[in-house]
Symmetry: C2
């Protein structure tokens, strides 16, 4: 029984005897108090409308640029994966073909479907950025939605400048991460793929800014975004995982486009009793949304994966790669590998016998085995080839993780028993790529170049990298996407 | 803390002392038991693949035809509402224009956007069908998705026969209502607009059948549908309410189209630990999904609204219309109106001062006042005109509903105090239009004719009505939609 039903029931029983007497007390709905919630939908809409590029601190602009840079490289790298091929072929039956390009590919689609497909490409390698407080991948839904809109606008003669693009990106990341902070971890623990559910807000928020919507329409865009959450964690290890941010991108674009035309929603959709936060989470920490809005930026907490797989695997991979390099390990040397890990490691990446590259991104057994054997953990180590490698399969059965609630997600302890009786130990306090050991710009350069060069010619990759670093100086942000497609 | 985290924590503490000893016991993920759930995703996929038109009992085929008939009339009637005008104009920026028609309109769109817009039109008047066990509007997402696909198939020379169309409709309704039964009322009480959240499944299921998907791909279609629930109850009274089944229709079409191309999901998305039922509901009654599947049909419980507004208002309107007719009531005669109502009446329709026709569909105060004054409750009584009528405004402040948990949703007691001292009383045990007092075929004829004639010429309306009743004999089901558009 809901709170309102329970209250009504009690009120009803008390009044039953007096019904139909002229003195009966009515029970108007206003007498039923709701839990007090600040008007966060309007607060966010007001913030979005008021935000300006000139208000962004240098560090925020810099991190926004790194976010864009990392997404673009990873999306190009993912552009030829099977999931993308299938999606492009399936959508051809109804998609338009002229409005927006697909990174790393020859085809063009209408903006809605281009946002979806580029969203798939950016997430399919599980190599994108991570807001570790919420495990949201902030760029995943936001950037493809902004790019599709920017390219379409340019064709209509109204270019989106690079600085406007970056401002919208920062806004989108801010909105999705603040909403994420307000409901994490309950919302994620319940089963939601938080990147998809909050990503719709991020895309709608950034687009509301680019479209120049007023506060009322921005609130409606957020309301229509709230109506379209995407993604459940059961999808992990399947094509459906990257579907989630892809569809979040097109849902955000759909929401903002309708709101721009005057399609109305509630202006309390995030905080209302039957609204997003109370329906999709048992935790509602409204202060996380409103405190320091416009002062403190969540994008400063963004991180970039050094390894293309579930982020909770990164400490163990970091340890395994180091142990391999320090000890020139081979499969024949290793008797057993013990790990102390955070509980999320087995909850999210407990696949014991992955059958595909996609599944291997969610297997602690595979990740540790392949990293110990090959001293690396790039796209080659999470491919169908690696999953079928006999020495990897043999070693992964010797990997024995044990979960401890006291081990933080960025930590691991690894103990490798060798057949010669030696024991090798490695403790990681902060996995490489995290906030404490961030990827440098040069690390990001190397990552972009390596992953994108598998799909596009090196000279073209270099040109795109250059454009991404210079985003704030571009008169037309969609120049990046045009350079990132195949002619 | 989730169940899995709690178990892991306990296991972790117990093992902490022994870590890194060769005798340490590992904690593989297989050792963590999940709550047992039957494989409902696969069970439903198997049912969908095996279903045949020849298996449908006569009564089921008849009710499927009535469901189609009622949706078509109501959708034509809603086709010129402001929400539809706005959506069509906004979508024009990116939608294709050639694939599918819009009921009651001249424009054409690509199938995905046509399914959305026709979905809006079918629900915007709040005049459609209702599965009272769950308050799902079964046709709302299913029929527009099937029509868009059927019309596109016909253009490609592969007509969907009327009997195949009706089979897919029955399947779609069956799947969405069974999933609804399994989670109602908890899922709805939490804040979800159940028509949108389950409607995605209904549309995907019906389309999987029409597309001839095998069991694996049908399960993926259901998985991608599960990833895209639409709609929160905070939207009620705004354009966002009809957005929900509209987007559910296009989401279902999107899911089935991708699955048809081989885009993979989990085959346990409905029942898995981080799947749809456990993430979106505190109640999971799996038997409601599987018991008597293919034997007992939920569509036999479908009902058709006699009044274009929230279904929980219908008993009170029924009483008010009867009292008006029996007593020739005018506003000047009435001192006060007391009502005993189910708690949902104030939870869903507690709007005291509606400002628009859309909002008035969720106001017990308006509905009772206008029905007492005008002796009717059609689209004219829930229009902007009616909301601004001074005598309605004056009377609605005298309407005093009191909620009682013991009053069933289909019941009401109304007591009208007159200025001359008389008291008029009316008790409704089963509102008109419910399962116990169903709309007859002639009632449906009159409803269709009245509502659709406001939008299309009467001769055209008669032709469409005839085609709908004959659906099972049509070689091409999309003939209906082609006749229902403007040339």
């Amino acid at each position: 029984m809901t709170e309102i039903n329970r209250r009504s029931f009690i009120a009803g029983v008390g009044l039953a005897a007096g019904f139909a007497s002229p003195s009966v007390r009515s029970q108007p709905v206003a007498a039923i108090p709701e839990r007090t919630a600040p008007p966060v939908t309007e607060i966010l809409a007001s913030y979005i409308v008021g935000a300006r590029h000139s208000y962004l601190p240098d560090a925020v602009r810099k991190e926004g640029t790194r976010t864009l840079f990392n997404w673009t490289g990873v999306a190009i790298g993912g552009a030829r994966e099977e999931a993308i091929d299938i999606a492009v072929a399936a959508l051809a039956a109804f998609a338009g073909t002229s409005q927006a390009g697909l990174v790393g590919r020859r085809e063009r689609l209408d903006v809605m479907n281009a946002a979806f497909v580029n969203g798939l490409a950016g997430h399919v390698l599980d190599f994108d950025d991570t807001h570790l407080k919420t495990v949201i991948h902030p760029a995943a839904a936001v950037v493809p939605a902004l790019f599709a809109y920017a390219e379409h606008s340019a064709a209509a003669g109204k270019c989106v400048s690079g600085s406007d693009f970056l401002t919208a990106l920062v806004i989108g990341v801010e909105i999705e991460c603040r909403i994420g902070n307000a409901v994490y971890p309950d919302h994620y623990s319940a089963g939601w793929h938080i990147t998809g559910t909050t990503g719709v807000f991020g895309a709608a928020a950034g687009l509301s800014k680019l479209m120049g919507l007023d506060q009322e329409k921005t609130a409606w865009a957020l309301g229509l975004a709230a109506s379209q959450p995407v993604g459940l964690r059961e999808s992990f290890g399947t094509m459906n995982k990257s579907f989630n941010p892809g569809r979040a991108a097109s849902n955000g674009l759909f929401a903002a486009s309708l709101a721009a035309g005057g399609f109305a929603s509630s202006n309390r959709m995030i905080e209302a009793k039957a609204g997003w936060m109370r329906t999709l989470s048992t935790k509602q920490d409204y202060d996380q949304i409103t405190d320091g809005l416009g002062q403190r930026y969540e994008i400063l907490l963004n991180t970039y994966k050094p390894f293309p797989c579930g982020i909770v695997l990164h400490p163990a991979i970091d340890a395994a790669v180091q142990l391999h390099k320090e000890n020139k390990l081979t499969g024949a040397m290793i008797q057993r590998v013990d790990l102390k890990v955070n509980p999320l490691v087995l909850e999210l990446t407990g696949q014991t016998t992955p059958r595909t590259g996609l599944e291997s991104k969610f297997s602690i057994y595979h990740a540790v085995a392949v990293a110990l054997l090959e001293g690396a953990a790039g796209t080659a180590q999470f491919s169908d080839r690696a999953v079928q490698d006999r020495s990897v399969i043999a070693l992964r059965t010797k990997v024995k993780p044990t979960v401890f609630a006291t081990v933080r997600p960025e930590e691991v302890e690894m103990s490798v028993m060798l057949n010669d009786g030696r024991r090798l130990f490695k403790r990681i306090d902060h996995a490489i790529g995290g906030v404490e050991r961030p990827m440098s710009d040069i690390d990001l350069d190397r990552k972009f170049f390596d992953v994108a060069s598998c799909v596009l010619p090196q000279a073209q990759v270099n040109r795109i990298m250059d454009l991404c670093w210079k985003i704030e100086h571009l008169a037309d942000a969609s120049e990046i996407i045009r350079h990132a497609t195949l002619a």
